[in-house]
Point group: C3
Chain length 273, copies 3
C-alpha cells in the first residue's frame, strides 16, 4: 500500500544542533499538520548560523531524495528581521522552504527555480508566531501544507528573485588553478572549490603531464581515486562525493593535522616533468 | 490513507547521546511492538543525568505534537533503584512514559494530569529486564503498547501523585525582579526563569519607564524583539521561544562569551530616567 | 492498516557523524527506492573508522529490531579499495548490508549466517557510483531493494565466508580473570570483555567467596546491581545492558575520571576473605 500522492516526504536541514528540543518541536508541528508525511533528517549539525555550510550541504543532498520532496531548511541568523520567509518550486519537482538569505539558493538554482513566494498567509502558520523561532512557527507549517498538496500560491505572493549566495570561485594561473577550502566535513576532510571538470580542463591543456596539488604551500600530492589508496595517516588529494577536489588524511582528520579550515588556499598545477 | 487511530505517534526524549546504540535499541523495541507508529526524535542530547534540562525541554515541546502523542522520556540517573517507572495520562491527550524522578512533571502538570500508573505488568515489558537499561526494557514497551491503544490501567496500578520538580522562582526586589539562568541551549543562549508576564507586570507597576536587564552585574541592556536587532557580536536580552527572558549574543554563544551557565543571576529592573 | 510484508524496516548505523549531509543523502536514496520502508537511525556517531565500535554497537542492538529488519551499516575506511561490498541473510531473519571488513561479523554470527553475496548488480546501485561514498551509491540501494523484497541472490554472486572480527578475549589467572576495556560509551562507561558468565564460572569455582574488580591496579570494588546503588561520584563495577562487566562512575564519566579508554586492563578475582 503506497502512501497517497499528496503527502510528499519532508527533509529537514538545520543548524539547531542535537542538544535541545528545537528540531523536535518542528517535527511535532509537521506531524500535527501532515501526519502521513515521512520525515527525513538530513542533518541538524550545520555549524551555527553558517549560511554557506547549509547551502552546500543542501546542494549536495537534494538530488538523492524523491522528486517531490519538500526541504525544510532553517539556518536563520536574521530570524525576526526584514529577511523574507519563502517557499520555492523547481522544475525538478523539489520544493524548498526557509529564509531568503541565500541558504536555499545553490540547490534551488541546480533544481531550476520555477516559482517562489513569500510566506505570508496567516492561515498557514501557527497562531502568534514568535520572533525568534520561525522554523517552528512559520517554516514547518508551510512545509507541511506543501507536503499535503496545498498549492504554492496559497502561501503568499510571488517574489521575483531569491537571494543568491556567491561562493568564491577558483582562479586560473599560468599553469594551474588556485582555489580554496569551501567546507570542512565531520571527518576533517577539506573540500575545495576546484571541480573535477576544472582539473580535466587543465589536463587537456597540458596533455601528457600530471596534476599535482598543494595546500597552503605544503608538499605536492598526486590525485588518488579514493582515501584507501593512501597509507594510513598520510595526506592525500582526491575527488570526493562532492565531485570537488578534497584534501584528506587516511583514517584521520586533515583539518586537525594541517590546522586548516574554510578559506585555506589550494593550488592544482601541472607537475614539472 | 490515514493511519489507524490506535497507533499514536511516539516522541523520544533522552540523555542517551548520539554515540551509542542506546536510542536505536529503544527504536527497535518500539518498531517491534508498534510497527505502524510514527517515531519522532525530540532530542537525545539532554546533558547526561540532567533531570531539570530534560523536564524543561519536554515542557517546551510537548504542546507542538499531535494531541494523542506518547512521549517516551528517559533521563534516569536512578535506574534500577527504588524510583518508580510510570505512565501518565493527561486532559490534553498527551501521554508521558518515564521514570518518576521529576522529568515528566513540568509537562504533565501543564497538560493536566488525569491519571498515573506504575509500570508493573510483566506482559508489557521485555522478558528479564536489565537493571541498567529500563528505557529499552520497560519504558519503550509501555510507550509502544499505549501507542497501539492498550489502556493505561492495564500497565499497572494507580499512583496518587507523581514526583514534582521544583525549579527556582524569581524574587521581586524594590524596583525589579531577580532571577537566574535555568537552561543553556546549544547556541549558548542563556534562558532565565523570568517570564514575559513577570516583565509585563513590572511595566504596569512603573508606567512610562523602560526595563533594563543585567546579567552578573554586567552592563544594562534593553529588551529587543529578536536576535537580529542587535549588531553581530553584541550581547542582548530578548524573549525567546520559551517566552522567558534570555541573554544571547548575536551570531555567537553568550555562555562562552560571558562564561555563564545555569544558576547565574539575572536582574530586570526599571531604568532610571 | 499494516504495511505490506515486503517493505521491511531499514535500520542505519554509521560513523558519518551529525555535522554533514552524508546520512541524509543515504536516507534520500532509501526513500526514493523504498518509499514505504520505515527508516530507523541506530546511530551515526560511531567513532570515525572504528570497525570494532561499529561491530559492537550492531551486535548489541540488532536483536531488538523486528525480525526482517535490513541493517545498513557503514563504517568503511577502505571504501573504494578491494574490500567487498556485501549483503548477508541470517537464520534469525535479519539482513545486513555493508563493507566486508568485519563490521557486520559479530551480529551476523549471532544471528546465524545463512547466505552472503557480494554487491555487484549494476541495476541495484546508483549510476556511476563514486569511489568515496559507497554508503549512498551502493549500500543504500541494496538495502532498499532487500527491504522491498528483492531476493538476495539478485544482488550478486555468493561469497563463501565473510571477514571475521577478532576481539581480544579475557585470560584466566590463578584466582581470577584478566580482561580489558572493549568499548567506551557516551556516558563514559568502560565496557569490558568479561561477561556475566565468566564471573559466574569464577563464583562456582570458589564457592562462598566474593568477586572483586580492579581497573589498572586501582582499589578493589564489589560488583553492584546497578549504577544507582553507588553514591554519586563513586567508581563502581556492574553488569550493564551489554551483559558485560563495566566500570562506571555514578552520575559522571569513568573514562574522564580514570583517564582510561579501550585496552585498559581490568581484573576480576576472588577477594581474600
Amino acid at each position: 500500500m503506497r502512501r497517497a500522492q499528496s503527502d510528499a516526504p519532508i527533509a529537514l536541514l538545520t543548524d539547531f544542533g542535537y542538544r535541545d528540543h528545537y528540531a523536535g518541536a518542528m517535527k511535532g508541528v509537521l506531524a500535527s499538520i501532515a501526519p502521513d508525511a515521512v520525515l527525513l533528517d538530513i542533518t541538524h549539525g550545520v555549524p551555527p548560523q553558517s549560511i554557506a555550510a547549509g547551502a552546500i550541504t543542501l546542494r549536495e543532498s537534494w538530488r538523492f531524495f524523491p522528486s517531490r520532496t519538500v526541504f525544510l531548511v532553517v539556518v536563520d541568523p536574521g530570524v525576526g528581521t526584514s529577511r523574507l520567509p519563502i517557499a520555492v518550486e523547481t522544475r525538478a519537482g523539489a520544493r524548498f522552504v526557509g529564509p531568503d538569505n541565500g541558504v536555499l539558493s545553490l540547490a534551488a538554482r541546480d533544481a531550476g527555480i520555477s516559482r517562489a513566494v513569500r510566506l505570508e498567509s496567516t492561515r498557514h502558520r501557527l497562531a502568534s508566531p514568535s520572533s525568534t523561532f520561525h522554523g517552528r512557527d512559520i517554516f514547518a507549517p508551510a512545509a507541511a501544507f506543501l507536503s499535503r498538496g496545498t498549492p504554492l500560491g496559497t502561501l503568499g505572493s510571488a517574489v521575483a528573485r531569491i537571494k543568491p549566495l556567491h561562493l568564491p570561485k577558483p582562479d586560473g594561473t599560468a599553469n594551474g588553478i588556485r582555489g580554496e577550502v569551501l567546507y570542512v566535513d565531520g571527518f576533517g576532510n577539506l573540500i575545495t572549490n576546484i571541480s573535477r571538470k576544472d582539473v580535466a580542463r587543465l589536463h587537456s591543456s597540458f596533455p601528457g603531464k600530471q596534476v599535482s596539488v598543494r595546500i597552503r604551500g605544503g608538499a605536492p600530492m598526486k590525485i588518488l581515486n579514493t582515501y584507501g589508496e593512501a597509507r594510513p595517516g598520510t595526506i592525500l588529494a582526491t575527488f570526493g562525493s562532492f565531485e570537488l577536489l578534497e584534501i584528506a588524511v587516511r583514517d584521520a582528520s586533515a583539518a586537525t593535522r594541517l590546522g586548516c579550515g574554510v578559506g585555506a588556499t589550494v593550488v592544482a598545477r601541472m607537475a614539472r616533468s
